[in-house]
Amino acid sequence: MILVDDLFARPFLSILDAVRTLAVEELYDVERIRDDLKENRLLYELGERSEDRYRERKWELEMELDAAERAREQLRSKSIEVRG
């Protein structure tokens, strides 16, 4: 019975795994965060963003980038858990 359950469950688990992986990759999109860092810098250089706002946003994005890089590293090593 346990064996039959496993066989039935496996395809669904695989799909769920893939969906969760995609969700994590979108949530922790390192390239998007790096682009946001560059845009933040450019808007500051152009005078469209104040120095305070630039520094605040830079700090936020750097924290986000750090978290994203760690999450993706954990994902690669399969040690991350995404709660559905």
Binding site: R34, D35, K38, E39, L42, E45, L46, E48
Partner: protein, 209 residues
């Protein structure tokens, strides 16, 4: 300062020395020679300088000083972070990469890099293709090289680096002014002259420690 050497770039052999605001607070930049090449360096305390805004700016600014030095010098820039344990290790890298540096120096001799970014207004959608065509038309003949750089923002319609002869610099400046006049709805960021970062590609794989 320490005994490690931070290298900003490489030029044809010449004794150069100037005061500067360099990497990790270094106050002096000077050249270390290997045969027909010189590397512009500052003394720092580590072979792994931190990647901060200040250091990134210092790296660029020191190279800009060299570009202006005594009427202007041609330089092949090092990528950020190239620090060496001592002169011996630096010279070993210059020796191993000498053919590539010499080739790169020939390619960028007498030229500088200029940057052009064109942005649409906030919350506006510009016609990127039309703007890029206008840039091609206006600047194409003034540059000897063009690099299409990453458009990292939805507002960024153009992000290009141009390799320009020093003699054509004034004409390029004028063309940028005319482009701005013709496209008042766009924001233009014109930067440089820079060392030709986008037009040399030297892979320094040697051990630096």
């Amino acid at each position: 300062m320490g005994s490690a050497l931070y290298a900003y770039g490489v030029l044809e052999q010449e004794d150069v020395e100037f005061e500067t605001d360099g990497i990790d607070g270094a106050e002096r930049a000077y050249t270390v020679d290997y045969r027909t090449l010189s590397a512009l360096v500052s003394e720092i305390d580590t072979v792994e300088p931190g990647m901060s805004d200040e250091n990134a700016r210092a790296h660029s600014e020191v190279l800009k000083q060299l570009l202006r030095y005594d009427g202007g010098r041609t330089v092949v820039p090092m990528q950020y972070g190239m620090a060496f344990k001592n002169e011996r290790t630096l010279k070993r890298v210059l020796r191993e990469s000498r053919p590539a540096f010499r080739r790169a120096l020939r390619e960028v001799e007498g030229k500088v890099e200029l940057g052009l970014k064109v942005l649409s207004e906030a919350d506006a959608t510009g016609d990127g293709d039309a703007v890029r065509a206008a840039v091609d038309e206006r600047f194409g003949e003034l540059a000897v090289g063009v690099s299409e750089d990453d458009r990292f923002s939805d507002r960024l319609l153009v992000n290009r680096s141009f390799l320009v002869d020093r003699d054509d610099r004034d004409a390029f400046d004028d063309a940028v002014g005319e482009f701005e006049d013709d496209h008042g709805e766009l924001t233009v960021q014109y930067t440089g002259p820079w060392a030709p970062y986008h037009f040399v590609d030297i892979d320094i794989g040697a051990r630096r420690a």
